[in-house]
Structure formats: C-alpha cells, structure tokens
C-alpha cells in the first residue's frame, strides 16, 4: 500500500459534495431508519456549505440519494421560489447534475421544509423533510439522554399529559405544526413542523419519507404503508387547520392549505400554500395542457 493508494487524485469537491465515507455512513443509517420507522437514528452529520438549521440534514440525505438522472424539487413553506428553497435546489443541481423541477409529479426527490405537497406522491418518489428539532419530547424533557430513555421505554405519559392539560385549559389541543405522531404503533416522532393538515398524508402513504435533522444529528424515516397516527384522545378527534373553505385569491383553487395575507384596512386574503399547485391551476385555466395530479384533499376533505 502506498500513500497515493489511500487517497484519490485531487478534486475540488466530490461528486454530490459529500465524500464517499460520509455517504456510506448515511446509507447505513438510512437503512436502519427504514427498518425501525419513526425511531431517531444518530448520525455524524457532516458540515455542508450551508448554515446549520437551513436544511443541512435534508440536504445530506438528498445528496446521498441524488444521481445525474434524478429530478429534484425543493420547497420551503410550500413554495419552490422561496429564497432558501431556490438556494438549496441550485446547490443540489450544481454538485450532482440532477434536473430541477417545480412539479411534484415530475420529481424523483422532493426536499421540503414545513410542507408536504398537495398532490399525492407516488410509490417511486421520496420525500425528504428538513427537521429543526427531531425530539417530540423536547418540550416535556429537554435533556436528550432522558428523552432517549423515554423512547426506549415507550414512556410517553408526559406527552399525553401535556396534551390533556391543553384541553383542560384551552378547550382544545394547542399544538400547531409538528404534531407528535405514533409511528408503527411504537415510536412517537415529530413529523417536522408541517401543519396538522399534512400529517395524514404520511399515514399509509405510497411514497418513502426521510426526516433529517442536520444540526441535531438525527434521521428517521416513514416507509410506505406505515401507520402514522397523531396523538389524540378518543373523544377529541384530530383536527386539521380550518382551511377547507378558503379560496386562493390568485388561482381560485379551494380546499387546500392556505397562506394568510393581512390586507390594508383589516381582514385577510388567502393564497394556496403549495405554490406550484396554484401555478398549474392558473395555467390549466388558461388552456395549457398541464396535468394536475390527484390531491390528498378533495373539496377540503382528506381522502387518500
């Protein structure tokens, strides 16, 4: 063996940015994450050329998956043109040669912050959710060693108690986004800060979901056809945001998750949060031959 056999010819950057050993570590952990759905798997989480907290966990998963034939969609808050979504998408295509798309139907990988697209994802598609805080127990137990033991013991009593207290004090569960959910009947996970509207889309889905927190160095997965059940009491059903009756002021679509825009003189206007769904609806209404996929919600009702 020589020194040169240990290393490779100099290259400014590896293909897909991550070096081979980083990718192998991620591959090993991604397989374990699939094998134990919803269970947080620790990984080394290399630094990437983006600040921690800006999607570095999702990015590492995407960079491990991507190849020159991939088509990548990146959204932030549902929008493809958000500044950070644009920045991440451009980086992925620069280091991998993958194609970029805004269309959920055309993507092989969808990397997202805070939303699941409204169009139903297929069994050949991968959703990569960026996760700021992977620990659903953080609010009741900030120490991660203790929280980890609670997961090991399936000890979720403190979490149930918090939800119960909210009902007693406020008349309802006040959890907004990142609604804690039981995966495969064993591990409680955070679905990342997606709205409650999006959590049912992960339950018994056809697609594969990875959730990755780069800063906190944890990744977990929801394989296809896996139960994802929001924690609710039997007499208090799970409630998604009250958006079923709202209409997008630009595209005219209704029955989807909306962005609320305050308007001068009081009141609010609404725009559909899945921005490319809105674009496609506009293009379709203008006569373009555009395919809008089947959506998880129809007329504001979830029906997978």
């Amino acid at each position: 063996m020589t020194l040169s056999s240990l290393t490779k010819p100099w290259a400014a950057t590896s293909y897909g940015f991550l070096d081979a050993s980083a990718k192998r570590e991620l591959r090993r952990k991604m397989l374990k994450a699939i094998a134990v759905p919803g269970c947080q798997m620790p990984y080394a989480s290399r630094e990437v050329p983006m600040a921690r907290g800006w999607g570095t966990g999702g990015l590492q998963v995407t960079l491990t998956l991507v190849n020159p034939t991939s088509t990548v969609k990146v959204i932030d808050q549902g929008a493809d043109d958000g500044v950070n979504a644009a920045s991440i998408r451009r980086f992925i295509s620069r280091v991998s040669g993958a194609s970029e798309t805004w269309d959920t139907l055309a993507a092989s990988i969808v990397q997202s912050r805070h939303r699941v697209p409204e169009e139903v994802m297929r069994e050949d598609q991968i959703l990569v959710l960026q996760v700021p805080n992977p620990e659903p127990l953080r609010g009741v137990e900030p120490n991660i060693s203790i929280a980890r033991q609670m997961h090991a013991d399936a000890d979720y009593g403190k979490l149930w108690l918090t939800l119960y207290e909210q009902i007693v004090r406020k008349g309802r569960i006040m959890q907004g986004a990142a609604y804690p959910s039981m995966v495969n009947g064993r591990h409680v996970m955070t679905p990342s800060p997606i709205p409650r509207w999006d959590v049912p889309k992960l339950n018994m889905a056809k697609h594969l979901t990875f959730l990755s927190a780069g800063r906190e160095k944890r990744l977990f997965a929801v394989p296809p056809f896996t139960r994802v059940e929001p924690l609710v009491f039997s007499d208090r059903p799970y409630r998604v945001e009250d958006h079923a009756d709202l209409t997008c002021r630009r595209s005219g679509v209704s029955g989807y998750f909306m962005n609320e825009l305050p308007i001068d003189g009081g009141g609010s206007a609404f725009e559909v949060s899945d921005s490319n769904l809105g674009i496609k609806a506009i293009q379709q209404s203008e006569g373009a031959a555009i395919e809008v996929g089947k959506t998880w919600y129809r007329n504001g009702e979830f029906s997978a």
Partner: protein, 361 residues
C-alpha cells in the same frame, strides 16, 4: 400568469450575495497572505473552531467572509467534509511539545521553571493611536536570555503524580484508529472523554468562555486553579503505509490543566487542548471539564448542556435560521389560537351547554 411573477427568489439571492461580495472587493493571494501574517491569533481561533489546521485556508476563509467569524468557520468545516482521512497521527505527549510558554498558578516555581513566553498578560492595554497619525509602531526588540529555556518542558502533572498529589494516569491502551472521532460519529451521552475533549477543542470560543465563566462565578462547584497552561508546537507524526513514522509538520497548540480540590485523596484535574494559541478557550474549557463530574442535569456545567450549546456551527446556524420564513407554522398556531378563542367566547355566552362535564380519557 400572476403567480409566476413571484419568481423573484433566485435572482434576489444571487444579487444579495453579490452585494456582500462586492463590498469585500477582489480577493487575491496578497490579501490572504496579509491576513495570515498579521492576524495569527485570529487564524488560530478560526482553525481551532473549524478543527482544520491550515493557516492559509483559514486566512482565505476570513478574506472570503470579510471576517464574519461564524461564516469563516462554517466554510472551513464544509471544505473539511470533502477531504478524505488518510492517516491517524500519533498522540502527542506533553513533554514532547516544543514549548514557548508554560506557566502554573498552583506553585511559585515549578520543575523546568515558569516560562512566560509571548503574552500581553502584564502589558498596559493602551491603543497605539500614534500609528494613525503617521508614526508607525515598531515594537522594541526582545533581548535574548543569557540561558535559554529548554525547548521541551516536563509535565507538572507528572511531578504531581510522583508526589502522590494527582491520581495515577489511567493510560488506556487504545489503538489510534480506535480513538472515537467526533467528526465521523455522532456525540451521544454520556459522552466518551475523547468526544468531550474533541467537542471542546472545536467549540466556539465565546460560548466556552460564557459557560466556563458561569462555572467560575459559582454555577459550578469547582473554582479553577491553573495547574499548567502551555502554548507550543506539536509534531504531527504519522505512519507511512510502508511503516516508517515521520513528522508531517508542526501545529500550534494550547492546553490547560486546571484543578480545584481533592477528591478521594487526589487533586482533580480538568483538561482542554485545541489547535492554535487560544488561552481563554482552553482555561474555560478545562474548567467545564473539571466541573462535569458532579454537575446536575440541566446546569451549565453538565456536559450535555455545554457541549451542545458551545458548538459553533450548530449554534450560529440555528440562530440565523430564524430569519427564514416560518409562515406555515405560524398559520398553524393562529388556527389553533382562533379556534380556542372562539370556543372560549361561545362558552362564556352559553356556559351550561358547552362546558365539558366528563373528563377526557
């Protein structure tokens, strides 16, 4: 096509980056060289936090980020990600370090002597404003000692061990390739000592100082005495695949040992070391190490608390991520809040009908 008109994002970020870079102007090798030559302590700090020893790359990172320290550290760490690990260096022993400065506050004099070396400790911190009036400041020349100090100095802790003051060193017989490497595996708790010291070595200087200082002020239970503080240069000795050991070069290192009180008949030692010369960081870090053993969970001197919160890239990244839009999560909170208010208003109008009477499961 009104929606597509919002597609300003990609152009905006491109131009925003250009604005930042335009302010810094053209970066050439001369600028990098100047930074490297004139800011050695800044370079040291950045190399330590980046856990990447290259004065040249650190100077380049500083030039490229205009001295935005957390950005400079991030760009170096990201570059580090792309580099393969080709060898594992031999562990460095204290008495092998080419020592420029080595002091102890625990004794008036120590075997080998107190070597002050380069320091501003006893200087008067006066701004040299004359420089701005066209009178360059040329420091007076150093007068060589009649008897130069030996370039290598013994370890004070070794002397203390011989005297029975410090517990015998628990030399663990771990092969170099089996030493846990924080940059290739996640930090888990309780952390191995290797992980704890590695994490402190690359921690953010200000963060380590803040938490170390909190321990010194009384949020820890051990006040440090500097047993030994050492600045020097260490050989990086690696093994050629054919078996020969050779030095690949020298790196500047700092290390601190602090002690406070006896435990089990011996003085306890806290330890820290880092790339580059950064005394504040190693004293504060050694203080945290010293305090960890009996720290209550959740206190600033508990290892999970201080290791997580002094991680420079993670802390700064998460802090600035709050600039990203959060309107989806906000919308979700608003929805729950409005519904709760509506429920409350309804309950106040018709209390008997809507009040829950049976406890929920």
């Amino acid at each position: 096509m009104a929606y597509v008109a919002t597609r300003g994002g990609e152009k905006a970020i491109e131009q925003a980056e250009r604005l930042f870079r335009q302010d810094l102007g053209t970066i050439d090798a001369a600028r990098v060289e100047t930074i490297k030559q004139t800011m050695p302590y800044l370079i040291d700090r950045v190399m330590g936090e980046a856990s990447l020893y290259s004065e040249e790359l650190a100077a380049l990172a500083l030039a490229q980020t205009g001295g935005e320290l957390s950005e400079a550290v991030l760009v170096l760490r990201a570059w580090r990600t792309t580099q393969p690990r080709i060898a594992i260096a031999r562990p460095v022993q204290q008495d092998e370090i080419l020592t420029q400065r080595r002091i102890s506050a625990a004794f008036k004099d120590i075997p080998g002597g107190q070597i002050l070396g380069p320091t501003l400790d006893y200087s008067h911190r006066v701004l040299a404003t004359n420089v701005l009036e066209g009178k360059p400041y040329a420091p007076p020349a150093v007068e060589a000692a009649t008897k130069p100090a030996p370039s290598r100095q013994p370890s004070l802790a070794d002397w203390q061990r011989q005297q029975g003051l410090v517990a015998p060193a628990n030399a663990s017989d771990v092969a170099p390739e089996d030493i846990p490497d924080l940059t290739r595996e996640p930090l888990l708790f309780p952390a191995s000592r290797a992980h704890r010291l590695q994490s402190l070595a690359r921690a953010e200087t200000g963060g380590v100082l803040a938490l170390g200082y909190s321990a010194m002020r009384g949020y820890g239970n051990a006040h440090p005495t500097v047993n030994e503080l050492r600045l020097g240069e260490a050989e990086v000795v690696v093994r050629h695949p054919r078996g020969t050991e050779f030095s690949a070069g020298r790196v500047r290192v700092s290390q601190a040992e602090v002690t406070s009180k006896e435990k089990g008949g011996f003085l306890e030692l806290g330890f820290a070391a880092t790339f580059g010369w950064n005394e504040v960081k190693v004293i504060a870090a050694a203080t945290l190490d010293l305090n960890s053993a009996e720290a209550p969970v959740g206190s600033p001197v508990h290892e999970e608390f201080y290791l997580y919160h002094t991680e420079s890239v993670e802390a700064s990244g998460f802090c600035i991520h709050f600039k990203l839009p959060h309107y989806v999560t906000f919308q979700s909170i608003l929805d729950a809040m409005r519904d709760a208010k509506a429920k409350k208003a309804a309950a106040e109008q018709k209390p008997a009908e809507t009040r829950q009477t049976e406890p929920a499961e």
